[in-house]
Amino acid sequence: MSRTDRKNSLHIKSVFHVLRQNPIAVIIVLVFALFPAVCGNIYFINVVIEVFFFAALGIAWNVLGGLAKQISWSSACFFTIGAYAGIMMYLSAGVSPWISMFIGIAAACLFALVIGAPCFRLRGVFFSIATISCTTILRQCLIVFKNITGGSVGLNFGIRKNYSLWMLTFRSKTDFYYLSLIWMLACVAIFVAVKHARLGYYLRAVREDEDAAASLGIIPSKLKTKAFLISAAMMSVTGTLYVFRLGYVDPNALCAHDISVKIGLIAILGGMGTTWGPVLGAFIIIPLLELCNYYLQDFAGGGAGYALYGLLIVLIVLLRPSGLITLADVIREKMAKRKAAGSAKGV
């Protein structure tokens, strides 16, 4: 067995290991696989599709943000690059998203390299602020270069008729539901693979103490750039898939600081550096916003959804700063204790 083969099989083994470790997660995934068959309401299915996409983005953010604790607010850039790659290739030459996806990845990685070089020289909150600037620069560039990108109006698919998987045009919403579910699970698998690879351990070393890691021969900026590239590629693919569902791009809505923040918060509130944390975070934040915007849009100026979102963030930081997923550990511990107490009684 060659070295790469053994490495791959190791990754696959670790994926199975995680599956065996998380029976609850497997059950939840199965429930969501069956959800569209039970739920006839197309609106709820759409909300869950949104959840899957944002969970995928949150997981991608977690590769850099969770493992290396680099709080980046430039996620919307890569998401937007993927989306624009998809729609521009389609409009100019009718290219399938399965091909333009890779062009998106290449563009996103290039962009990540360009902004990673200056940003990774900075630490902590300086890094965060510099990444905010990157989102603004990209958005304004998209708006200024009107003749290529459509300016502030964005681009539109128009009517697409040929239904096919190749072009990602579907008759029913449930097809997209399964596509996004599969992509989200793929992201989980990539995250687990990175986490258990050498890179993952190195990143965690950098997270704990950058100077100590550097003194042991790790080059932090190189590792962070690697993680940034993986994260950018994942976000870009999500963007391409997402735009084929949405049907249009709008630079002000897509390449926004709000989107970057939402992606980061999903991962942080769910649990930084944990595998299922972003999924949990997405399942709380996205439905909260979507349902509030839908049902409370006429109530008190329509700000209720985001006001609640803000309140929730503040409360979680104050009450459970390690992320909501750690609640699961607390419950598990309690159950173990009760079990131990029960068996003690039995004896």
Binding site: I71, I137, Y306, L311
Partner: protein
């Protein structure tokens, strides 16, 4: 050209004032307040409400500065007590997330109260469009007043920090909290005063820009990023740096939006920020720790 630079400097002084508030908070408790723009928005709405209630239509809003200061100080102290005090000294992530959550809460809370419509205070035409011409250069009255008010406030901060007891206590706490506390500085009060003052500066900036800008709940987002860039440009925890950073951003914005288009000015502000950070990773006047 000189005209454009002057315009940039005038508005830059207001950016400086916001950045000084941020720097104050960061200097004392090592927290970057991502909700600073929203505090400015609160200041604008406080001005709007007070103006509507007590001021004759058409007159200038500037003498509201005293009640705005008091209200904003109390508001800042409340915000600190309820939320921010719990993350002082904790990890970077927790304060970043907390203040971001706070910014959403304030922005959309105010949207729920006042609606998302654009509002403005009815100042007279002569104030709004009035100007003074000196040597062929036009100084818009509102901007000129904003400039001097911002300057006075910044000088006041410098005086406060260098020559008063509470200022010395603040500097002591920012350098070493444990030692300061053991020498009899009440860190809790220092924190509240620092956050309150930071809020006051945001609020006063809000008052100063009300004749210039429309008032709406998400107006803070624009100022938030500008103020943060100004602070980082100057070097964290450095009042003079924040002032100069604000001025630089004002000038860059004025130049690029006059000679190119308004959309480009944002690109240039952020490019300047990143470029300066590449060459001076701790800002223009930052005393960064040397990394081995």
């Amino acid at each position: 050209m000189i005209q454009v630079i002057i315009n940039g400097l005038l508005i830059g002084a207001v950016y400086s004032l916001i950045a000084v508030g941020l720097t104050m908070i960061h200097g004392v408790m090592k927290i970057v307040n991502f909700a600073q723009g929203e505090l400015l928005m609160v200041g604008m709405y406080v001005t709007y409400v007070l103006y509507g209630a007590f001021v004759a239509e058409g007159s200038a809003p500037y003498f509201l500065i005293v009640p705005v200061c008091i209200i904003m100080f109390l508001f800042g102290a409340l915000v600190f007590k309820v939320s921010v005090s719990h993350v002082v000294g904790k990890s970077e992530t927790s304060y970043i997330i907390l203040t971001i959550g706070m910014s959403y809460l304030l922005r959309y809370g105010f949207q729920m109260i006042f609606g998302s419509n654009y509002q403005s205070i009815p100042v007279s035409e002569s104030l709004k469009f009035g100007s003074i011409t000196i040597g062929g250069i036009v100084f818009t009255t509102t901007r000129l007043i904003a400039f001097f008010a911002a300057l006075i406030f910044t000088i006041f901060v410098n005086y406060l920090l260098s020559s008063t007891d509470i200022g010395r206590a603040m500097r002591a706490t920012s350098e070493n909290k444990t030692v300061a506390t053991s020498l009899g500085v009440n860190a809790k009060i220092v924190y509240i005063v620092a956050f309150g003052l930071g809020t006051v500066f945001a609020g006063v900036s809000g008052l100063l820009v009300t004749p210039l800008y429309m008032i709406y709940p998400s107006v803070g987002a624009v100022f938030s990023t500008i103020a943060m860039s100004a602070m980082v440009l100057g070097g964290l925890g450095n009042i003079k740096g924040a002032m100069i950073g604000g001025m630089i951003i004002g000038v860059v914005e004025a130049l690029s939006s006059t000679y190119l288009t308004t959309n480009v000015s944002q690109i240039f502000i952020n490019l300047v920020l990143i470029l300066i950070l590449i060459f001076k990773p701790y800002g223009l006047f930052g005393k960064g720790v040397r990394i081995a």
